[in-house]
Symmetry: C2
Subunit: 218 residues, 2 copies
Amino acid sequence: MGNQVQESKALDGGATFADDELVRSGRDADVTRRALVRAARRRFATEGYRATTVRHIAADAGVNVALISRYFGSKEGLFEACMNRTVDELDPQTRARASSVDEVIARLLTHVVEAPNADDPLQLLLLLRSSGDENADAIRRRTLERFTEQLAAAAGWNADVPASQPLLLRAQMAIALMLGLVMLRTATEVQPLASASADQLTEPLERVLRVLLDTTEK
Amino acid sequence: MGNQVQESKALDGGATFADDELVRSGRDADVTRRALVRAARRRFATEGYRATTVRHIAADAGVNVALISRYFGSKEGLFEACMNRTVDELDPQTRARASSVDEVIARLLTHVVEAPNADDPLQLLLLLRSSGDENADAIRRRTLERFTEQLAAAAGWNADVPASQPLLLRAQMAIALMLGLVMLRTATEVQPLASASADQLTEPLERVLRVLLDTTEK
DNA sequence: GAGACAAGTAAACGATCGTTGACATAGGTA
DNA sequence: TACCTATGTCAACGATCGTTTACTTGTCTC
């Protein structure tokens, strides 16, 4: 057989992310742009960069495919916009100087395990899923490194050296732990981790993260 | 612009996995099959299922594309063969009983950071990447849960309760850390983690893993 | 209300994907 | 030697991808 499935049929295949809120009532380019980024982030996070098609994204957002090229230049540009928005939302929380390592850790845990917003963990997945696309991966890599520096800076608030390489490494280990955790919980859905409550996770995670990030601890 | 890049040119784009060893001298279907699985595993692990093309795999293995359909039915069939082989190779090592937590940790570190065989970490990536295929993901999930139980049993060798759920959770956190680490090091290639030496990683990782797995420690 | 410009759509293009059927060739068998 | 089957190659097919061009439609200003 060939690649089958008519192009028209392909769009209703799989769960169609109906973009409930953020209805585009009138003609507003900004609203449309946000709707596209919103739809794209969910697709990219859950299905990966290469597997998501611009036609799916446009259908989720309820607009024509051509608008992606018009507003973001290309699929790659839309992906970069998604990453930038994720960083922007992650930034104020990591940038805000913490008064203690405990506060940094608490902030991380809030994002990953408590997850007040259901889309929060998906944003992290966006940082982990490699695409196979060379430029998209470069964007991802650069974003992760920026995130690392901010986390290390926040953790080393009381360290004498501002950003030693061992600290950067430990910060990235913390990130690796959190990313792997989200991956196993939401994508692979391995048990009992996937259905574990936040209470069960916070205590051991706190201890581990303190070992990695606390520069004062022996 | 369009999708650019001539089809003939595309094949030498990116790092071409020259399949050094396992040269197919004569005409041997078994040897060819193994060469294909070998090349496919590296591509699938580093670039993901969707981003890997059968033409790349065939080029890596040094054979014609048509043989993939002939020997494995389809790209999906080849992926399933890769998974089966990975499970077969991972099983005996996790099944072997460890005598102490330190030994378990040492074993984990050997697999992930020291990596005597360059393909070892890539096998782990195969367990993490979702394919979109329902059956493949089920196999993946079941394998991870089995791996968790064996790791928890090995870690709790001196604990009074054999396999408490908190221990299972901590074991899966350890797995999450290792998988995230391999992901960031080999797929995303984020710095400085990707180019860090084994020496730089073992010390902090040992401490973290002991916190997670050592049931005697306070 | 008429025009103008932005916002959105429809249809198509070229490229690449996975797959296939017809053909070539090596190596063992009669 | 002549043949025959397993093994491998080649060229093409249909589908789908991201992108672009030409067009339509809404909305605001004068």
